[in-house]
Amino acid sequence: MKHDTSSATIDAEYYDGLSPVPVKGTLKISRELFFFEPASGSPAVTMSYGEIEDIEKILSKTRVIIKGSDNNCATRMISFTGKHCKKLIMKYKGDTLTNPFVKTAFRFKHAPLILRSMFFLLALPAAAVVVYGILFESYRLVPVSFDKKLSKLIEGKITSECKPYNDKKLNSVIERIRKRLSPKQSIYAYSIKVIKDDRINAFTLPDGKIFVFSGLINKSTSPEELAGVIAHEISHVENRHGIRQLIRLLSLSVFLHLMIGAGFEELESAELISEITGLLIFMKYSREFEEQADVQGAALMMKSRMSCRGLMQLFNTMKREANVPAVAAFFDSHPDIDNRIKFLKDHVSREKFKPQPLLFKNEHWTRIKKIKK
């Protein structure tokens, strides 16, 4: 007689979902249905493969989770030991699935370890590409008009919190700098405003609005120093560093949240570690942008026939004035100031043109830069 492999019988325990006490008996598996026959001789329970919610293998036991039979019973369960029956039940369950997506997911979930590992190895580069794309290239999908809208939003906050400073002579020099440095084919309309603040700093909105602190002007010894800073800021705008930074920050935090949040809420230290990692990665890329802006800013200065000697001078002043502890420097988003000075020194030594001055013969920077109280 031919042995029938399309059906099987095995000792099993049946949990009816109404009482935690299992019923011992026999599980009978056939292609269309499966049955549980209690050993006590009570009537058999008939179930279809469509009713199976899940099949779990825990150690040697297979547990089949089945939809509940009535309102008070959420799920039932059959538990047994035996490879052949597990395979059979898995196969028949897979056959009843019609949605190809669900079917693939089911088959994959229960596929041998080696197969799943191979899939992961193949999928890993794809995942890396997606992460790279989101972190570094997705800004290309954001229209420039968004940069402008975002800038408007921030500008409102700045104008309400910062004091503007206006001086006719200073403004005329700044206007000269703006005209000479604005790239010809730029899609951005640059504007430069002075803010009354003693710190040596400057910042830019993504739409080309540059803000210079009066402290920086005060410390500068020539308008070329100011021009060097503005060239740096213009490079930020031209490369859309602002929006790229924002996208990186957002996607990195979402990404890390998803990684940690994958069911591991118990381990709180993990969240902390992920936050620090995120911050470090973020800082590193901020520095990358600063370096790029330094390089392109210097090129822009050269193109506009201005020397970077001034900017180098300003960095030297900043280095003297700033007393940054080593730990803070590690977290600073700007590159190491010594490296920046070294880069500019290098650049200046290659400047082989006659600089066009920003000031007219009768003008004196020390008088122009003087910030009135």
Partner: protein, 325 residues
């Protein structure tokens, strides 16, 4: 007569969890985050299925789909809420002619008030969802606490803690614990919390003082004694739980898992998780003699994934917002 205790067991291996975790990461990235809901379910299932009590594992029945839908609903609620608040601001400023600063202050107060009022609903709803999707021997757990009770416990706790300069804290702790324990059921049978503030007062006093004196190191021993107190005062059908966790376990495991994660650059993460779960479960046992025949199913059919989605969504926003502050 003293009964025997049956230990809880955790049988999961780091390697298996690592594979699940790796798969989750890859699929989460490839689906731009959507898979994370299914991924979370897989990990919870792994942890439940490998946790044995009376040699029977726990089961977890939530689906990625219901969690994802709960999350989408939560996002819609957030959007409507945000829209209403903006509308309110515009109304106050433009129609009522209120000063923008004042209008902003009013809207902020109202928004915070609503969020604060929603918190107990979210906590209770999430707990209901979690327990209704957890089972043991095919019988579901159930949470029957109400948000109003929880809100009152917290309101009373905060006020009394301030008025008594913190002396009320152990009683507050017990009120919160008993809310969660007394309102939990396995089938139709409740868990009971027998701890009182008086029993805990000394532990609290010693715990806080020593934590201060040892610059925080004693916090591990304090946390362990709280854990022991909670479990040792939890009773099911008159049978006690017993927890033998010690401060040294907690301290050692925390240090070891932190080192493991650091030195493996994060790859050791799943092993660290297993180490932590093992530590808790190896120290937990339940007295023998449960009358299983007396237990009947009492399934919480109304428990929904919405609160779960709300807490997921606010967690996500918190994580994103946290990077900016």
């Amino acid at each position: 007569m003293e009964n025997n205790f049956k230990k809880f067991n955790f049988k999961g291996k780091g390697g298996e969890l690592f594979l699940i975790y790796l798969g989750n990461i890859i699929l989460t990235i490839l689906t731009l985050g959507i898979y994370s809901f299914w991924g979370k379910v897989r990990i919870t299932k792994f942890i439940y299925n490998n946790t044995e009590c009376y040699d029977e594992p726990l089961n977890y029945h939530a689906t990625g789909k219901e969690k994802f839908l709960g999350f989408l609903k939560a996002l819609a609620i957030f959007a409507v809420f945000g829209g209403l608040m903006v509308g309110l601001y515009m109304g106050l400023e433009k129609l009522a002619g209120l000063d923008p600063m004042k209008a902003q202050a009013v809207v902020t107060v109202i928004a915070y008030g609503i969020i604060l009022a929603a918190i107990p609903f979210i906590i209770v709803g999430s707990q209901r969802f979690r327990l209704s999707r957890s089972s043991w021997k095919a019988i579901r757990f159930k949470f029957v606490g109400t948000p109003g009770t929880l809100a009152l416990i917290f309101l009373k706790g905060w006020i009394l803690s301030i008025l008594t300069l913190g002396i009320y804290s152990p009683w507050f702790y017990c009120e919160v614990r008993s809310f969660f324990v007394n309102n939990s059921q396995y089938g139709n049978q409740p868990f009971v919390f027998t701890g009182t503030g008086k029993m805990l007062a000394k532990t609290f006093l010693v715990g806080i003082l020593l934590t201060l004196v040892t610059l925080g190191i004693y916090a591990f021993w304090f946390a362990a004694s709280l854990e022991r107190f909670t479990w040792n005062n939890t009773v099911f059908q008159g049978k006690r739980f017993e927890c033998t966790l010690r401060g040294g376990d907690l301290f050692g495991t925390t240090i070891a898992s932190a080192l493991l994660i650091m030195f493996t650059l994060g790859i050791g993460f799943p092993w660290a998780i297993i180490m932590n779960i093992r530590m808790y479960l190896d120290n937990l046992s339940l007295e023998e003699g449960i009358d299983f025949a007396a237990i009947k199913s009492d399934y919480d059919r109304a428990a929904s994934a919405l609160s779960d989605g709300l807490s997921e969504a606010s967690d996500a926003m918190d994580a994103v917002g946290g990077m900016f502050t």
